[in-house]
């Protein structure tokens, strides 16, 4: 589990957007399984980034659909049938989707409308939707920024478990140094668009982290 730290405007979110191809980097490349995402567009880009799942600060669920339907939507990239094009969720994915919901501890809410969930629950459903995508890398852009401390902790524990038990590579952009040091294996510090450190979390000192947030002299 990699955590990227940095103050506002240090380039954390830009990094994430470049990785998934929402922004084009002005230099450099993003390689997924040997293919450079920055040179792709349209359909080729959509297919090349299938191994990447992104969750962001807001859960971005479809509020009027059920939790289960929202999770099933994560699989649409693999199902291009007429039925899914017309708005049906792929039937064969309902079982696995329930499994993913159980994994995030919300199986009992499967039938509820996504709009009725609390922030923490919604974010965990977003994680389940990302899992339904069957990714190799789970990217998280400030996944807990709008959650209260307890819900934030719950989401972070979930991400941590996915990284250590399910062998998923988790890259998480965070605002809060204390969460970062608690959950990360590897810490990356960004300041004004540049990497300041990139080391195992245990080797990063509090002073180095504090310097990331210092006002520019």
């Amino acid at each position: 589990m990699v955590v990227v730290l940095g103050s506002n405007g240090s380039g954390k979110s830009t990094l994430m957007k470049c990785v998934v191809g929402m922004n084009r980097p002005s230099a450099g490349s993003v390689e997924v399984a040997g293919r450079d995402l920055t040179s792709l567009s349209g359909k080729a880009l959509r297919e090349a980034r299938l191994p990447l799942a992104l969750i962001s600060q807001h859960a971005n669920l479809v509020r009027r659909r059920s939790v289960l339907a929202n999770v099933c939507c994560g699989t649409l990239g693999r199902h291009r049938t007429l039925a899914t094009t017309l708005g049906c969720v792929p039937r064969e994915e309902v079982g696995p989707a329930l499994g993913h919901l159980a994994e995030v501890g919300l199986a009992e809410l499967a039938g509820q409308r996504a709009g009725t969930l609390s922030g923490g629950q919604a974010q965990r459903v977003a994680v389940a939707r990302a899992l339904a995508q069957a990714p190799q890398v789970l990217l998280a852009d400030e996944p807990v920024a709008s959650l209260d401390p307890e819900a934030a902790d719950e989401v972070m524990r979930l991400l941590r478990r996915l990284a250590s038990h399910d062998g998923l590579a988790v890259v998480c952009v965070l605002h809060q140094p204390e969460l970062a040091t608690r959950y990360a294996d590897r810490l990356v510090g960004l300041r004004r668009g540049r990497t300041v450190f990139d080391r195992p979390a245990a080797e990063v000192s509090q002073r180095e982290i504090a310097e990331l947030y210092q006002a520019d002299a």
Binding site: V20, M22, N60, V62, R64, C73, L76, G77, G87, R129
Partner: protein, 267 residues
């Protein structure tokens, strides 16, 4: 403590410039109203002298000709069907146009402008004028009225639909795009569930408006109760006119209640 000097306008009392502006606005509105009074040739005294004529009409309209109720049933159905036809075709045509005319979903700028233009023209021409045009084209009867309602509805619905689509939450659209869903899948799975309730509400409201419009369309020969009303007026059958007005009132009131109820269901 830091002390700062603030040079902007103070909250509370308006500045002198704003006071002058307010006075100018009041004078301008008054001037506009005076010219309107002159141009419409308003003669309040005629209302007083005309009271006698009105009383005469009312006395001749009473009691309403309730024995004429049965012959109104078919035109009532015609009026309702005009509204149904106009609303259904309006929705079917307005929805794709609205997608092209919504800035956040339009596939290409030229299509956006083309769709906006079509919607603009359909809306700018009143349904009564559309009805006159279609009566000339396809002859008298309910059909030109239905066409007129459909075309005008495309204009009204197209614009409102496009606004709903532009105001929707783009988060789920972004999220689904990133899961690898195709453009059409994103549309059916994120856009449609997001906007459908609002669109249904607007369409129901449009039905209600179309029903009221279809009453008037009869005046230009496009069928329905309006046509009966016009005929009765021309033949000085004021008791029939009274009945038709009662029927109209009940019809519109019912449609309003039903459409309001259905809108609470889809909200």
């Amino acid at each position: 403590m830091m002390s700062t000097t603030y040079k902007g306008p103070m909250p509370g009392g308006p500045s002198p410039a704003r006071q002058i502006g307010a006075v100018a606005a009041v004078v301008l509105i008054a001037a506009l109203f005076v010219q309107a009074w002159i141009v419409v040739q308003a003669r309040p005294q005629d209302l007083v002298t005309g009271a006698h004529g009105m009383a005469d009409i009312i006395s001749r309209a009473l009691p309403p000709a309730f024995d004429q109720f049965k012959p109104t049933l078919l035109p009532v159905l015609e009026t309702i069907d005009l509204a149904i036809f106009g609303t259904v075709f309006g929705v079917v045509l307005a929805f794709p146009l609205a997608i092209l005319a919504a800035r956040n979903l339009t596939p290409a700028k030229p299509l956006y402008y083309a769709a906006r233009a079509v919607i603009g023209v359909a809306r700018a021409v009143p349904d009564l004028v559309w009805a006159l045009l279609f009566v000339t084209a396809v002859g008298l009867g309910p059909f030109p009225g239905a066409l007129a309602l459909a075309v005008h509805s495309v204009g009204m619905l197209g614009r409102l639909f496009a606004e709903v689509i532009e105001d929707m939450d783009m988060g789920p659209v972004e999220a689904l795009t990133l899961t690898g869903a195709s453009r059409i899948q994103v549309f059916t799975h994120a856009v449609v569930p997001g906007v459908l309730p609002s669109l249904l509400g607007i369409a129901l409201y449009r039905f209600d408006e179309n029903l009221r419009s279809s009453l008037v369309l009869g005046f230009v020969g496009a069928g329905g109760i309006g046509f009966l009303l016009l005929t009765a007026m021309n033949l000085f059958q004021y008791q029939t006119v009274a009945l038709l007005l009662i029927v109209t009132f009940v019809l519109v009131a019912c449609a309003e209640r039903i459409s309001a109820y259905l809108r609470t269901l889809v909200a």
